[in-house]
């Protein structure tokens, strides 16, 4: 472990330093949005959005290569797909009461499958594994800037509308009776979730996005008395898991994404059992 600390500050290992900074920056967005996703129980919606993002990336790559639309880069495709998916999924969850999970499950699967089909029909080599689990070691300084901007946006909106989001998540019906436009704030929350997913999918992959959105917040919910406390605990736990995961993956030459997932998943299961035991005695 000690040699890892030297490695971080070794100028030849710039990628490692970037990975650690990214871990810290990403934790802010994951902690805040993950808390909302957990208390509003929309992890399933976030999953559907992230898989639709994959469809958007596929479409962008396909059009870039096959149709010569060079301006249509995968990032743009991902953002468009994410926002369309967020609004669609949000409206479905509000209006299609009985068929909600079927429709969202379909969007989830079709988003993913169309992404794979489009990438298959695009000449060139694309590593599908890096979309699923990400490649945190390929992070550039531009990525750090993007994620810092996302953090600023999410922190800003969440602080300004904290009471609105709190109320919409806790008791949407009562909130609308107080004259607040709950549909707007619910969709805004989903769009923020979508933006978080987009920026992070490129870096940590689809599977890791879901894990880091839900697991730290799930653990935080054992200990937090209030919503803002849960957000702070989630951010800290998220940073702890990504850093420890990165450290382990560097020391033992393991792929970073799966290491972080297994580590945080194991921590969650252990703490869940301890929490249940403590509660029953």
């Amino acid at each position: 472990m000690i040699d890892m600390f030297y490695a971080i500050f070794d100028p030849d290992n710039l990628f490692l330093k970037y990975a650690f900074i990214m871990g810290a920056l990403a934790s802010i967005s994951f902690g805040i949005i993950g808390t909302f996703v957990t208390v509003k129980k929309i992890g399933y919606l976030a999953g559907a959005i992230s898989h639709c993002v994959f469809g958007g990336i596929g479409l962008a790559l396909f059009l870039q290569v096959n149709a010569g639309l060079t301006w249509f880069d995968p990032m743009l495709g991902a953002v468009l797909a994410a926002i369309i998916a967020a609004v669609t999924v949000g409206l479905v969850s509000l209006h299609a009461k009985e068929r909600e999970d079927t429709i969202i499950g379909t969007l989830w699967a079709v988003g993913m499958a169309s992404g794979i089909l489009l990438i298959d029909r695009t000449p060139g080599y694309f590593n599908l594994g890096s979309y699923l689990f990400g490649d945190i070691l390929l992070i550039s300084s531009k990525d750090l800037l993007y994620v810092a901007c996302l953090d600023a946006l999410i922190l800003g909106v969440s602080i300004i509308f904290f009471n609105r989001f709190f109320s919409v998540c806790f008791d949407s019906e009562f909130t609308s009776l107080r004259g607040i436009n709950t549909t707007f704030f619910y969709l805004l929350l989903l769009i923020l979730t979508a933006l978080t997913v987009v920026l992070m999918v490129r870096i940590v992959g689809i599977v890791l996005v879901i894990a880091l959105l839900t697991i730290p917040s799930a653990i935080a919910s054992f200990y937090a008395k209030r919503l803002w406390q849960m957000m702070i605990y989630s951010c800290l736990l998220c940073a702890l898991f990504t850093w420890t995961g990165l450290g382990l993956s560097y020391s033992w030459s393991l792929p970073s994404g799966p290491t972080i997932i297994v580590l945080s998943g194991a921590a969650y299961l252990v703490l869940l059992v301890i929490h249940k035991l403590l509660k029953s005695y």
């Binding site: 208390v39 107080r178 919503l227 406390q229």
Partner: protein, 251 residues
């Protein structure tokens, strides 16, 4: 339009999936009323409450509250939902929950005045000792009281309650109703209850809903009337809460 008519429903019909839940309902609630909506499951009790709140729109007919459409006067209506609809793992303390009653379109943040109003409302339901307690650690009856406080802290003229006595024990029921009786001196109260026998001791009139609506003063309630509402014989348990020393008798 009479000045003392706070809530009026004129010729209201509402259907859900081609099934008529309410048919040609007329109803007037006067200022200072303390009424309970009772009726069988699926008879339209909750639908009636949601129509008055403006959460759903009637297929036919007109609803007026203080002479205006429901969604225009929402700020003056206090509403207590059933606590069972809320997430039991949500991280929030009592203060956070009651502050929701002070939400306003114009204010993003709660002021000192909002917090003072919240403390007054919590005091009114006798829960001052629990301001910083986690909402989910409270018992069912305590949660109901906190949700009443949340409805109260916007100083409403009308208070609507959905099953305030669901899932609470007997003593808690009595306690809740004595709070409501006290509040009735300041505001009109309309509640939904499945428990006709119990509420009739406290409320001034009973609104029976089973697709149609009939209003009875509580003094006139008897077995024949209940049979009429529920369309059939019911196993009725009377609990008058006033037992003589020899115990009580059923008739």
């Amino acid at each position: 339009m009479h000045n003392d008519h706070e809530i009026t429903l004129k010729n209201i019909s509402f259907a859900y999936k081609q099934r008529n839940v309410l048919e040609n309902v007329d109803l007037v609630i006067k200022k200072g009323e303390f009424a309970s909506i009772v009726g069988p499951n699926g008879g339209g009790k909750t639908t009636l409450l949601k129509l008055i709140l403006g959460l759903i729109k009637p297929d036919k007919g007109v609803i007026r509250i203080f002479g205006k459409p429901p969604d225009k006067v929402r700020q003056q209506i206090g509403y207590m939902p059933q606590y069972a609809h809320l997430d039991m793992n949500f991280p929030a303390i009592v203060m956070d929950v009651v502050l929701m009653g002070r939400l306003k379109k114009s204010n993003l943040w709660f002021s000192r005045k909002d917090k003072n109003e919240v403390l007054t409302a919590i005091d009114e339901v006798g829960m001052t000792a629990f301001v910083n307690t986690e909402f989910n650690e409270l018992s069912g009856g305590q949660k109901q009281r906190i949700l009443i406080a949340r409805a109260l802290c916007s100083n409403p003229a009308v208070l609507l309650l959905d099953e305030p006595t669901a899932n609470v024990d007997h003593e808690t029921e009595e306690n809740l109703f004595s709070i409501l009786q006290k509040l009735n001196s300041k505001m009109t109260i309309l509640l939904v209850s499945h428990d006709l026998g119990f509420v009739s001791k406290y409320v001034k009139s009973v609104i029976c809903v089973n697709r149609q609506v009939v209003i009875h003063p509580t003094t006139l309630i008897n077995g024949a009337m209940i049979k009429d509402i529920y369309h059939g014989d019911l196993k009725m348990v009377r609990h008058d809460h006033r037992c003589s020393e020899e115990g009580h008798t059923h008739d």
